[in-house]
């Protein structure tokens, strides 16, 4: 084993001391030893593999097709809903109200921690059973920990004259609907 080869096996700390007297030329030749080259090549290969795995995982974890229920649903013909009535759609978590100034759709999901609220006919208000928030029929918070009014949802009229609500589309509060 030559002097140079043996030296590459020594710990880095002792190398500097033993080589203090060497000339620059030898040091330049040994800048890239076989061991260093193999280390760099191996680490680079690992980095490429890790990067590829991360990219592949990110793509894989993102579902391309969702089998979730549609956010758009039909409430029914608008003539069938009497003025002053409050319909509760438990499945889609929506209140559909018909007041004197038209229709409105409010999300029944409490803005506090996402519980489903209930309409209280006696008090003409919306009540959350989890933490006691109360909302007016325009969604405004009357009491309790809820930080924001209930969301107003988009309404439309289908070709057959039925009211359609989309829970995924929010509208500005106060945006009523007149068919």
């Amino acid at each position: 084993m030559s002097e140079v080869e043996r030296d590459t096996n020594r710990p880095p700390g002792s190398r500097a001391a033993s080589r203090s007297g060497r000339d620059e030329e030898t040091r330049a030749q040994e800048w890239m030893t076989r061991r260093r080259f193999c280390q760099a090549a191996g680490l680079s290969a690992c980095a490429v593999a890790a990067g590829g795995t991360a990219a592949l995982s990110a793509e894989f974890l993102n579902p391309r097709v969702l089998f979730e229920p549609s956010t758009r649903f039909t409430v029914g013909p608008h003539e069938a809903i009497a003025v002053g009535s409050v319909l509760t759609d438990a499945e889609h978590r929506v209140f559909v109200l018909r007041l004197h100034d038209g229709f409105r759709a409010l999300s029944s999901v409490c803005t506090h921690l996402g519980c489903v609220t209930r309409y209280q006919p006696d008090e003409k208000c919306i009540f959350c059973p989890c933490h006691g928030s109360r909302f007016a029929l325009d969604g405004e918070v009357l009491a309790g920990p809820a930080p924001r009014p209930l969301h107003w949802l988009q309404m439309a009229l289908s070709e057959r004259g039925e009211i359609v609500v989309d829970t995924a589309v929010e509208v500005r509060p106060g945006t009523g609907f007149r068919p």
């Binding site: 710990p11 880095p12 700390g13 592949l56 793509e59 894989f60 579902p63």
Partner: protein, 253 residues
């Protein structure tokens, strides 16, 4: 290498890695002994045992393939429901809809085939090198258990795509179980969770494939590696060992 010093000199690093990074013999031993993942390894290995022809790296290959199978399997589990007929639809969705789904599914499949082969060749290597002889006879038995677990994992995974091939493979396989005297019919009933290859059977095979058998295999691998170390390291070919000792001027005991 100032950044190495900055990284390894601070208190956080030293709280995790107690020994220094200098490549002294003591630190090299400490690196293995103090690392939960490496401590199953011996701290020192004979150079001869690291040569390709000593082991052909077949045990390490099997372990690596198992790691690949665990990772790809975990990914596949994210899109798979073990119910009838959803399982078949999920398998098709993995192939045609999910990004890289077909790649991961094929990787899982080919790694499974390769692992059975690697474990089998590992067994042959140990046999032909006479590495099953005392003091390693118990580890041979552990190895046989690992081979059976590997085959059972392959077999239980076979049902999960819920296509014609898997349905009939499990029908035939469980009827072979039924042919066992006395216990056969009852064992088949328990394995399938009923009399037919149906919803219960799919769920039971899923639980076996994804939880019970992998846990058993991990435990077995831990015992296997620990015993390799306790039995004096791997044993390569006896002829090579004798030749090496002749070269070093030592006499074979």
């Amino acid at each position: 290498m100032d950044w190495v010093k900055a990284l390894t000199g601070n208190r956080v690093w030293r709280s995790i890695v107690r020994h220094g990074i200098r490549a002294t013999n003591r630190n090299r031993v400490m690196l293995v002994m103090e690392n939960v993942l490496l401590h199953l390894h011996p701290a020192k290995v004979r150079r001869r045992n690291l040569e390709l022809s000593s082991t052909y790296y077949l045990g390490g290959l099997s372990l690596t393939l198992f790691a690949v199978l665990v990772m790809t399997g975990l990914y596949l589990m994210l899109y798979y429901h073990p119910s009838v007929p959803q399982a078949y639809d999920d398998m098709k969705e993995l192939q045609f809809v999910v990004s890289n789904g077909v790649f991961l599914r094929n990787m899982h499949r080919w790694a499974a085939h390769a692992m059975v082969l690697a474990v089998f060749f590992h067994m042959l290597r140990v046999f032909y090198h006479r590495a099953y002889r005392p003091p390693r006879e118990f580890n041979w038995v552990v190895g046989v258990v690992l081979l059976i677990l590997t085959l059972l994992l392959s077999y239980t995974g076979y049902l999960l795509p819920w296509d014609q091939l898997s349905f009939w493979a499990v029908s035939v396989g469980t009827n072979m179980v039924k042919a066992t005297p006395v216990l056969g019919p009852k064992f088949r009933f328990l394995l399938l969770g009923g009399n037919i290859v149906g919803e219960n059977a799919l769920l039971r095979f899923y639980v076996l494939h994804c939880a019970l058998l992998p846990l058993a295999l991990v435990l077995g691998i831990a015992i296997h590696l620990w015993r390799v170390r306790k039995d004096g390291g791997v044993r390569g070919s006896a002829g090579r060992a004798r030749a090496a000792e002749r070269r070093n001027g030592r006499v074979q005991p």
